[in-house]
């Protein structure tokens, strides 16, 4: 899988994570609230994102490759014009539903911009900083703890699963055959148990160092200037949204 984070030292990268999270969320809310027939507005949103990429030095191709994650939704959107009811119109000689066409456009336009906005956030913020940002935004501590531990242990568990798979195929296991999936399933069960036991050991080690239910607060508050500059894209989107009303 392509990494979603693109290390860099641009002004966008340097913004505190909490500013970027709020900015991305506000931006997406503006996009979603836009009337689907205000076609020009979506072009404006895309331009705002493109401007952010220029500042963050992210090539559009890099973004496009990762935006492919959206493909299943695009397929759904392409089907909508043929499945919708109501009045029909002709596109390239094919008769399609008007409401279906608009619904499909709505999904593609808002979905694409939403995905691109999320990718921009992910590209310029390390997963660790995202968690710090959530913590700064007073996300419940149990959510922060779960996210932190997931970041740390996901790779440990994946490595364990890989070792178990190697050990299985070294003994002639070939899960392409249906009657052998049982071993894979039992492997997943074992993996679950070992992860659970590891969880208990991790908790024991945390308690031994004085853990009392909350991770220490990390990161500092964002300066007003950071908020001001970080929210420019969202503010621009808000102006566009007001312009469509």
């Amino acid at each position: 899988m392509n990494p979603l984070h693109r290390p860099g030292d641009s002004p966008v990268h340097r913004l505190p994570a909490q500013v970027k999270i709020v900015g991305a969320l506000a931006f997406v809310l503006c996009v979603v609230a836009t009337d689907r027939t205000a076609y020009w507005a979506f072009g404006a949103y895309l331009a705002v994102l493109a401007a952010v990429w220029v500042v963050a030095a992210i090539p559009p191709g890099w973004m496009a490759k990762r935006a492919l994650i959206e493909t299943p939704f695009v397929v759904l959107a392409l089907a909508a014009p043929f499945l919708g009811g109501g009045p029909e119109t002709e596109v390239l000689g094919v008769s399609v539903s008007v409401s279906g066409l608009l619904a499909g456009w709505n999904i593609v336009a808002k979905g694409t911009i939403g995905v691109l906005a999320s990718l921009t956030l992910a590209a310029t913020t390390t997963p660790r900083d995202l968690v710090v940002g959530l913590q700064r935004l007073r996300t419940p501590s149990v959510v922060v703890t779960i996210a932190t531990l997931m970041l740390r242990y996901l790779e440990v568990i994946v490595a364990e699963a890989r070792r178990m798979r190697l050990a299985r195929i070294s003994r002639g296991h070939d899960p392409r055959f249906l009657w052998q999936v049982g071993a894979t399933a039992r492997g997943i069960g074992t993996l679950f148990l070992s992860s659970y036991e590891r969880g208990e050991r991790v908790h024991l080690a945390m308690v031994s160092r004085g853990y009392a239910g909350a991770l220490p607060d990390t990161g500092g508050p964002a300066r007003p200037l950071s908020w001001l500059s970080g929210l420019v894209p969202a503010a621009t989107a808000a102006v566009v949204l007001v312009g469509t009303l």
Partner: protein, 240 residues
Amino acid sequence: MTPPALLVDGLAYAYPDGHQALFGVNLRVDRGERVALLGPNGAGKTTLVLHLNGVHTPGAGRVEVGGLAVAKPNLKEIRRRVGIVFQDPDDQLFMPTVREDVAFGPANFGLPPERVDQALAAVGMTEHADRSPLHLSGGQRRRVALATVLACDPEILVLDEPSANLEPVARRELAEVLLGLDRTLLMVTHDLPYALQLCPRSVLIDNGVVVADGPTRDLLADTELLAAHRLELPFGFRLD
């Protein structure tokens, strides 16, 4: 007279399922001593260690750390005083970066943040402070795990199988770090040569009681004693 770093007196414990693991353990470790805790698997070593910081509550007997009884009201201070380095560093290092992990204990115990850098320097890991524990070698992880505990300024360091899964060089480097620390040390291990290198005194536990307590060299030279408790020196070692 200063109280001993660790005092275990008549400690007995049975697990909730009825399995009795400890039958009256007595152990006194004075400040500055380095003691190896030896014994076969299932002898009760880990159970004893988990009593030292109050994870288990004794069925009978008492435990004191630096004169402070291990009891519910003192738990926080006890856990600061007893620094346990667990066997698998992946269990101990749970934060995304080395520095954050080392800072976890001091933040919980309200210790000054300078301790983080001091602890990292003491184990020679300062330059790796901003890396993820995932990207460190086994020996480096072990040293970071040690730093996470050192940062809490413990009265007694408790190490569970510190040399397990270490390559020979990493094993030696860890020994050098430990010898340079000048702290009270209790080391649970099956690695008898390591016990000899690091700990002048050894305590042998089996079936939930202390069966021998004396100079490490004398204990390890007693082949009959070792054999009676499923211990033996590695191939090629002789002490007599």
